[in-house]
Amino acid sequence: MAGLLGIEPLERTTIEAILDRAKHFQPEQNANFKRLDLLRGRMIVNLFFEASTRTRTSFEIAAKRLGADAISISASGSSVSKGESLVDTLNTLGAMRPDAIVMRHAASGAPDFLARHLPTPIINAGDGTHEHPTQALLDARTILDRRPTLEGLRVAIIGDIAHSRVARSNLYLLSKFGARVVLCGPASLLPAELAQLAPGVELTNHMREAIREADVIMMLRVQLERLHEPAFPAGEYFHFYGLRREHIGLAKPDVIVMHPGPINRGREISSEVADSQRSVILNQVENGIAVRMAVLERVLNASPEN
C-alpha cells in the first residue's frame, strides 16, 4: 500500500487485512509495556493543517507503540502561516526523508494532489469534506467487535452528510461489505447524488425512518465551522435531527450508537444517549489506535526503503 488516501479505491481484501491486524493490536492497548519494535527506526511526520486533538494524538500514539519516531507539526506557527505553498511545505518535509506523512487538511483532495507530486507515502487523516479513511476503519472495527459481520446490517448515518468526510468514508466501506446504509439529514445537507456513490445507499430526511430497525446509528457532528450560511433554520436542528432517548426504541434492541467526536451534547446527541449503555463512543477512540497501528505498519512495510 503506497499510502492511504481514501476508502473508495481500496479493495475489500485490503480492508479486511487492516481490520484483522487491528484486532491483533487491540490487546496491546492494555499491556503494561505498550511498545512494539515493528517500526523501529522509522520516522513518521504528522502534519495537521486543521485543528485536531484526537486524530493527531491517536496517530502519534499508534506510531510510538509501533516503535517509530513521530513528530507532529501543526499549521499555525509553521512556515505555512508565513505564506509557504502546500507543495513547498511538503517538498521540504519530504526532503528530510520521513517514511510517511500523515496529513489532515481543510481542502478536499489536498492529499491526492500531493501524492501526485511527492514520493513519500501519504496517509490521509481527513481532507476537507472528502474522506477520513482511518475513521471508517475504526468504526468498522468497533462494529465488528460486536457483530460477526457487516453484511446485511442496517446503518443509519445522521447529520450534515454533505460536509462529512466521515460519512463518505463510512458509506464506501459499509457498502463494500454489503451493509445497508441510510443517510439522513435535512435536504440542504443531503444532496440526492449521495445515493449514487455506492450500492445499497438510501436517503431520507426523516430521522425516525432512518433509525427504524437500525443495527447501528452513527451521529455526525454539526460542523458549524463548515457552514458558511444557514442551511437549516437555526435552533431547530436538535429538535429534528438530534438523537434522544425516545429514538432508541425504534432501532434494534441491541443497537450501537456511534459518534466520531468531538460530540456537541444537546446539539446532535443528548447527553443521556451519549453516556448510555448503547453508546460505543469511547470504544471508537480506543480502536482508533489499533487501526492506525495497522495502517502505519502496512504503509511503511510497503514503502520502497523496505
Partner: protein, 435 residues
C-alpha cells in the same frame, strides 16, 4: 508588401458558399484573386509574378478564424500571458482575430486602457486584437463604465466577464447603453450567490470528491434574466461560454421569438464532462464548470441546430504556481487557443455531427455576426486573413511547447487528427506548423 499564392487548397468560404479547390493570390495584404491555376511565373496578364508560393494541396483554406473570447492578461498579469504571447498562441491555433476580455489590471473600463491595448497589439501582436470593454467601472457592478468612449476607441462589445453584473437594473441600463452605441452585451451568466464557493459542477462528481458545487441553475437563472432584459431593452445580448442544458434551451426559445440573443460555447464544454475530470487536477477547473454528459449533449445539439453561433476558447492563462495548489485555491480557467480546431474536428466533424463548412462558420461568420465585425470572407480586395488547416494529420499536443506563457491545459498529451497548418494575417504567414 510581398505577394503570396496559396495553391491547390480546398477553399471553404461560407460567405459565398464556395467549396472548391482554388488558388488564392494575395498582394499588399489583400486578396487579389481567387481562381484556378494561378501561377507565380511572370507571364503577361499574371499579376502574381514573383510571388511566394504556399502549397496547400490536401489542405483546407478558410477565412481567418475569430476567437471572440480570450484573456490576454496584459496589462497587469504579464507573468501569465502578454498580448504578444497570447497572439502567438492564437496564430498557432489558426486564429487571425481574437477579442480580449477586460479583466486586466487596470480593468479595460475606459478609452485609455482600450487605446493602450490596441496600441500594444499593433506593435507586438501577430494577429488582429479587438478588445472588449467592461460594463461597469472596475467591473465592480456598481456604476457604468465609459462605454461610449471605449466604443470610439475600438471595443467591439462590453462584458464584465467573470464578475457578472448582479444588479438587474444596472444590467438593463448597460443594455440600453450598448444598444445606443450599436454593440452587443456579452454576459458570463452566473448567479454569484448560487455559485458562491463552488469549485466544480454540482452533481455526482462534486458530492463524491467533497468539492462545493456550482449548480447548472446558477447559469440558467442569469440567462433567463438577461433574455428578459434583452427583450425589454431591444439590446443585442450574447451568452458567453454556454454550458448548461436549460440555458441552451432558453437561447433557442429567445431566438425563435426573434430576439437579438446569441451564444457561444467553448471546445471544452462540448469535449469534456464532469465524468472526465481527473480528481483535484486544477486543469479541469474552469467557469462555467465541466457539466454533465447530458449538458454536453445539449451544447452539441445547440451547435448542430444553430442555437450556438460561435465556438470561442475562453483562453485563460494562469501561471504554474497559481494552478499548483489545493484545488479549492486554484483559479478558474484553462488555455485553449491551440487545441480549439483539433477538438472541434474530433468531437463534431469526424463524428459526422457537423460539416467542415459549418465548422468554418462557427469560427468566422458566426462570431463576426455577433460582433458586427467588418467583412469576413474572401472577396477580392478584403484583408488576406486566412486559416489553413487539415483534417487527417495525427499530432500530439505538447503544452510545454505552447506559444502561450501558461501551461494550464487538460489536453496535454492528447492526440488529435487534423488541426491548423498555417495562419495568414494581412497576407503574411504568421505561423506555420512545425512538421
Amino acid at each position: 508588401m510581398g505577394k503570396l499564392i496559396i495553391k491547390n487548397g480546398r477553399v471553404l468560404d461560407p460567405v459565398r458558399g464556395l467549396d472548391a479547390v482554388r488558388d488564392i493570390a494575395i498582394q499588399d495584404g489583400r486578396i487579389a484573386r481567387i481562381g484556378e491555376n494561378i501561377d507565380s511565373s511572370g507571364d503577361a496578364g499574371n499579376d502574381a509574378g514573383g510571388a511566394e508560393v504556399f502549397d496547400a494541396s490536401g489542405m483546407y483554406v478558410a477565412p481567418g478564424f475569430i476567437d471572440m473570447h480570450v484573456h490576454l492578461r496584459e496589462p497587469g498579469f504579464e507573468y501569465a500571458e502578454t498580448i504578444e504571447s497570447g497572439s502567438r498562441a492564437a496564430a498557432a491555433g489558426g486564429f487571425t482575430t481574437i477579442c480580449c476580455m477586460p479583466n486586466t489590471q487596470p480593468i479595460n473600463d475606459n478609452a485609455t486602457v482600450t487605446s493602450y491595448i490596441i496600441e500594444r497589439a499593433h506593435r507586438h501582436a501577430v494577429v488582429n486584437v479587438r478588445p472588449i470593454g467592461a460594463i461597469t467601472k472596475g467591473s465592480a457592478g456598481e456604476e457604468l463604465a465609459a462605454i461610449g468612449s471605449m466604443v470610439q476607441a475600438g471595443v467591439v462589445a462590453i462584458s464584465d466577464d467573470g464578475r457578472p453584473v448582479m444588479n438587474a437594473r444596472l444590467m438593463r441600463r448597460a443594455m440600453e447603453t450598448a444598444r445606443s452605441f450599436g454593440i452587443p452585451v456579452i454576459d458570463h451568466c452566473e448567479d454569484l450567490n448560487l455559485s458562491a464557493g463552488g469549485d466544480i459542477h454540482e452533481g455526482i462528481a462534486s458530492v463524491r470528491l467533497g468539492l462545493r458545487g456550482i449548480p447548472g441553475a446558477s447559469e440558467d437563472v442569469m440567462v433567463a434574466r438577461d433574455i428578459l432584459l434583452a427583450e425589454l431593452t431591444g439590446a443585442r445580448f450574447h451568452v458567453a461560454h454556454i454550458s448548461a442544458r436549460r440555458s441552451v434551451e432558453m437561447v433557442a426559445f429567445a431566438k425563435a421569438r426573434g430576439l437579438a440573443v446569441t451564444c457561444e460555447t467553448t471546445p471544452h464544454h462540448f469535449a469534456l464532462s464532469d465524468d472526465d475530470l481527473i480528481p483535484y487536477d486544477s486543469n479541469f477547473k474552469m467557469k462555467p464548470p465541466l457539466r454533465t454528459a447530458c449538458d454536453t449533449g445539449a451544447v452539441m445539439q445547440g451547435i448542430v441546430n444553430g442555437t450556438v453561433s460561435a465556438i470561442a476558447t475562453d483562453h485563460a492563462p494562469h501561471a504554474g504556481s497559481e494552478k499548483m495548489q489545493e484545488f479549492e485555491k486554484c483559479p478558474f480557467g484553462i488555455i485553449g487557443l491551440e487545441t480549439a480546431i483539433g477538438l472541434t474536428l474530433e468531437k463534431l466533424v469526424h463524428t459526422g455531427k457537423i460539416t467542415l463548412m459549418k465548422m468554418v462558420e462557427l469560427f468566422t461568420t458566426g462570431p463576426a455576426g455577433v460582433l458586427s465585425l467588418d467583412a469576413v470572407g474572401m472577396e477580392t480586395g478584403t484583408a488576406a486573413d486566412l486559416t489553413i488547416f487539415d483534417t487527417h494529420r495525427r499530432w500530439i499536443y505538447d503544452v510545454n511547447k505552447s506559444a502561450s506563457k501558461s501551461r494550464n491545459s487538460p489536453f496535454d498529451g492528447h492526440e488529435f487528427r487534423g488541426g491548423p497548418v498555417a495562419t495568414v494575417v494581412a497576407g503574411n504567414i504568421v505561423w506555420k506548423v512545425d512538421w
